[in-house]
Every structure is written in structure tokens, then in C-alpha cells.
Symmetry: C2
Subunit: 144 residues, 2 copies
Amino acid sequence: MLTPVEKLRRKGLKLTPQRMLIYDILYQSTRHPTADEIYRVAKRRYPGLSLNTVYKTLESLIAVGEVVAVETPNSRAHYEITKAPHHHFLCRGCGSIEDVPDSTLGKISIPRGLSKEYDVTGFGIMLYGYCPNCRAKRQTKGGG
Amino acid sequence: MLTPVEKLRRKGLKLTPQRMLIYDILYQSTRHPTADEIYRVAKRRYPGLSLNTVYKTLESLIAVGEVVAVETPNSRAHYEITKAPHHHFLCRGCGSIEDVPDSTLGKISIPRGLSKEYDVTGFGIMLYGYCPNCRAKRQTKGGG
DNA sequence: ATGGGTGCAAAATGTTTGCAAGTCC
DNA sequence: GGACTTGCAAACATTTTGCACCCAT
């Protein structure tokens, strides 16, 4: 297993403090921060940082496959370090995203008919619903 | 099978010309237009229409479950009439979205462990890749 | 030294909001 | 008649772009 530093270096990315920091924050995080959330955390450690740099850095990391963007139905992208295949649960209440291990969802078979005409490079599964916290809130309110 | 008019009426939505028009455009369309695309088509038939009304109408139709928003990784939402369960294919080349019948993907079983704590209300599968057209273009270019 | 990376601010989306006037029921 | 709907424009939030300076290689 290469160190993160080695991985980035081999991809031809310059190892600037900002880049290392942003990568590190994503690497440490079990959540799926938005660009702005990453920015706010990073800025505490590197006050000179600009939001722009966060976006550019994410772009670079995505380009080399080290980060993936998790799109959500509120037009706010969330980011995570590329890791073992998994899918996501999106809470309708608080907008939080949680990982769902791939294996628990069973195998998806891409229809042969589709892959004959289409070049299917991957897929993602997004589960929707309410996290334990929001679920409790809704039940308290008698909401459905 | 209720007529679209009856469906909307029973949901308590007022049947304004704009609303009928937008619903009709979505109903007719086999594609998955964005709000702006709907707006441009609708405006040809109803020049006084505003983009705002398209958004508001989509919101209403989504609220009553007649329309669903298909989120894509470019922050542009696509909309479609709610119909038989299916999933989507998103072309990385042209951004187009195609339906993928549910049955061809096999059943997804939501892990028991997850639904014990979480209230899982649904899920969506998004396939990624290149449509026949974009696939051809890429091969021509020798792209990978 | 050199080209990519950074930071600032402004621009460019896509979507939402405020409010007066209009219209379906 | 009343509440919901519409349309206009401005507000908003997120992301992208332009450009001069800086720094990792």
C-alpha cells in the first residue's frame, strides 16, 4: 500500500501544503463533507487557504481518481476519498450521507442488452430515507 | 387508469394551463428534460410562461408524487413523470439520461441491519458510461 | 527557472424567494 | 370571494473563471 503522499506524487500532482491538507481531511473523514465544509475545516489549519483552492484541488484529485464526488438532490456535492466499492444512504431529513458496504446490497448485473450498445463504466446506488436521528424526530412529531 | 387531469385534480392541484402544459410536456417526453428545457419547450406553446412557474410547478408535482427529480453530477436536475420503477443511465459524454427497466437489474435487497436503524424509503441506481453516440466518438478519437 | 498551484474577486450557473396581480374552484 | 398560482426581478448558493504572484520540482 502506497502512502497518500506517494500516490499523489505518482499521479503527477505537486505536493503543496494545501493539497496535502485537503487530501488529509478527506482521508481522515468518515463523513462526506461538501467543498465548503472541507474549506472551513482546512482553514483552521491553514488560514490563508481559499475556497477556490479547495475546488481546484478536489478537481485535481477527482481527475486522478483519488476522490469521488457524491451527488445529492440538493445541488450540493459531497466528496470522499476513493475506497472500496460501496454505495450511499442519503437522509431526507438532515442531508447527511452514510456509506453502505457494497456486499450487503448484493450484486447488480448490468443487462447484456445494455452493455452491447452502451459502454457502461460503473454504477452507483443511492438509498433514501431517514437516519436514526431524523427518524426519531419524525415519529415524535407524529409525522409520516 | 385515471387521466392525467383527474390525477392532478385528486391531488388537490389547481388545473392551470401552465401546469397542464408542463405536466403534458413531461408526460410526452421520453427524455428527461431539465427545468430550463421544459421552460423553453413550454414557452413556445405558452409565451407568457416564466421559468419560475416551471420550478414551482415541478415542485408541486414532485410534492404529490407525480414527478421525480433525477439528480446528475453536473448540478442540473432532470425531471420525469413518475412511472414504473426503473433506474437511469447517465452518459458521461453528452449528459443525456436514459431509463433502465428495473427488472433487468435484478432485485436489490436492503440490508436488514440498515433498515433496523434507518428508515429506508427507497433507492435509486445510476449507471454511468457512454451512450452509443458518444462511445463511437470516443473510439474514433482513439480516446480511452 | 518554469509551469503548475494559489488566492482574490468577479462571473456564471441553477434555483429560490418576495410580492403584486391574476385565476381556478 | 378566497386561496392558490403566476410572473417579474432580485436574491441566493454553489461552482467556475481570470489573472498576477508564488512555490514545488
